[in-house]
Symmetry: C2
Subunit: 356 residues, 2 copies
Amino acid sequence: MEGDDECVVENREWYLAAYSTEGVPTSDHLKLRTVRISLASHSIPDGHVAVETLFLSVDPYIRTMLTGTLDGLYIEQFQLNHVITAFAVGRVITSKHGNNNNFVVGDFVLIPSAPVAEYSIVPATKILRKIDAATGISLPEYLGSLGVPGFAAWVAIEVLADPKPGSNVFISAASGAVGIIAGQLAKLRGCRVIGSTGSDHKVELIKEELGYDDGFNYNKESDFDAALTKYFPDGIDVYLDNVGGKMLEAVLNHVNKYARIPLCGMISQYNKVWTEREGVRNLLNMIGKEVRMEGFMLASHWHRFGDFAKDMEGHIKQGKLKSKNKINLGIESFLDSLISLFTSSNVGKVIVQVKA
Amino acid sequence: MEGDDECVVENREWYLAAYSTEGVPTSDHLKLRTVRISLASHSIPDGHVAVETLFLSVDPYIRTMLTGTLDGLYIEQFQLNHVITAFAVGRVITSKHGNNNNFVVGDFVLIPSAPVAEYSIVPATKILRKIDAATGISLPEYLGSLGVPGFAAWVAIEVLADPKPGSNVFISAASGAVGIIAGQLAKLRGCRVIGSTGSDHKVELIKEELGYDDGFNYNKESDFDAALTKYFPDGIDVYLDNVGGKMLEAVLNHVNKYARIPLCGMISQYNKVWTEREGVRNLLNMIGKEVRMEGFMLASHWHRFGDFAKDMEGHIKQGKLKSKNKINLGIESFLDSLISLFTSSNVGKVIVQVKA
């Protein structure tokens, strides 16, 4: 890219037009706009690279960064009128990065907080890792089992829950992006794994394709307590909570001694203001059963990302881990992709493919 | 005690006459009866000792063992018509214990689950430790700062919370048996320590006598959130929860990153059936702030009791730790002593002195 004119691109990007405090975000809150940016070498600061975005990871945490209110939920909020960010796979198209570990033109890279845009200029320090194309693993996989949901599942199961063979593991949102990986990781550890999910079809899927021992459709269970009594006659040792609210409360009536509850997300609660969220009345149970409940964010675990990637690439190459990716085409599909996370319509990981 | 007749004693003991599912327990639930038992050597099985009870520890957990329902709260429940148990200091009056670590007549001993009775025959394996009279520490102290509440405070602060110098520590039920010790341990670690308690008098006490940096009377605060904003402008790093419910919910709106919340007890919730307990609606905050909330029971930490005792005896001998004991006389005072834990009338540790 030598000539300056050629290097100016029409760059479509999603920005936060208005805070979304309650309910599912809409096109009132997130809007697509076109900006012109130069990708010419002289427009790029030293230590930076220009990247074309190939795939964007669509994750529930993004919704929690749209409220504009710090009700203690997550640290950061997107800024009004600024482009929002997501975990992404990109390709370096111009590089002004000159240390020993150079990113060069053509490199495929993972960027945890990439602008949700077709192109971007980012400091090399914000790149998490280079993707080794020789592994034969497909690029979207780096946003699924090797990306945010895979890492979340790995931290929850391998680091925080650390279940023993034979432990009884319960996973809510079991057919979601985190759930499908977490269930398989727990199975690889020899656990008995039960999942809850939002349709009979998904229950079939986690049992038939993803190796869960059993599962149930929470929409058909009027009494979660009774369901857990049925599926966990020996109690629950690990609960990977992806939903919060009433399911978490029900679980606390079935926990075994020293149960671990990694809090990965609470998708049932994200679209509500906090005073309307469902109260959990039986935290007292945590004392007698000596339960540890622990929230976590991936940012605090980046130092383990290398261990995670090595583990997971091993599982994938040995055919021990299946993935489910739902790929939507074009950056314009980002908002609908985000909304789809809250409608129970998806199975597995939702990804936006930016370049056809 | 050679002659058999002399060895038969009239032994008063408290037993569970009826379960108490809700409200403060009364004389309908706990009753005193007199039984005749023989303390003669031939009446005592090998490996056992006969003990006269000197002091009984009156702790809130006892109330939770009277409900007869395992709603997940605590593992064990007292049996109907059986004598209840408590942590006690006793003196060995007959010994049939013959291993290398003999308990002999005259030994002062600590028994975690001693019958709430004037005399008892217990296996030596149920004795936690011998008390070294040469330390000069008074016997009731072994039920306070060196007993259940001291150990609970030590596990919560030293093992689970592990605060750094300068950490902001909040302790509810701050003038209670656990709170007075926990606050002092946190101060010894260089923390800023604030307590909540139930009267202006107790607020004065924790500030003036026990070294708390500040405190407030929760009965005078209509808005816990506002109170915490005022007392914790820099947020809360450690919350030692002794009450649960609304205070815990308020705290979760003020937690700092990586806050630790040891759940020591939830005295505000003990007298309620679980569906009527106060729901905590903002557990979601635990994710963004990566909070660890952890229930604990002392039984899982007995292996640390030696470390604890050494630590605390050191603090006591150096005059670094003050205690507050409320001693009620006579085994007949046990029920009223237990009830007093729920009426906000006490400061510090409630102990029944069985022998005058």
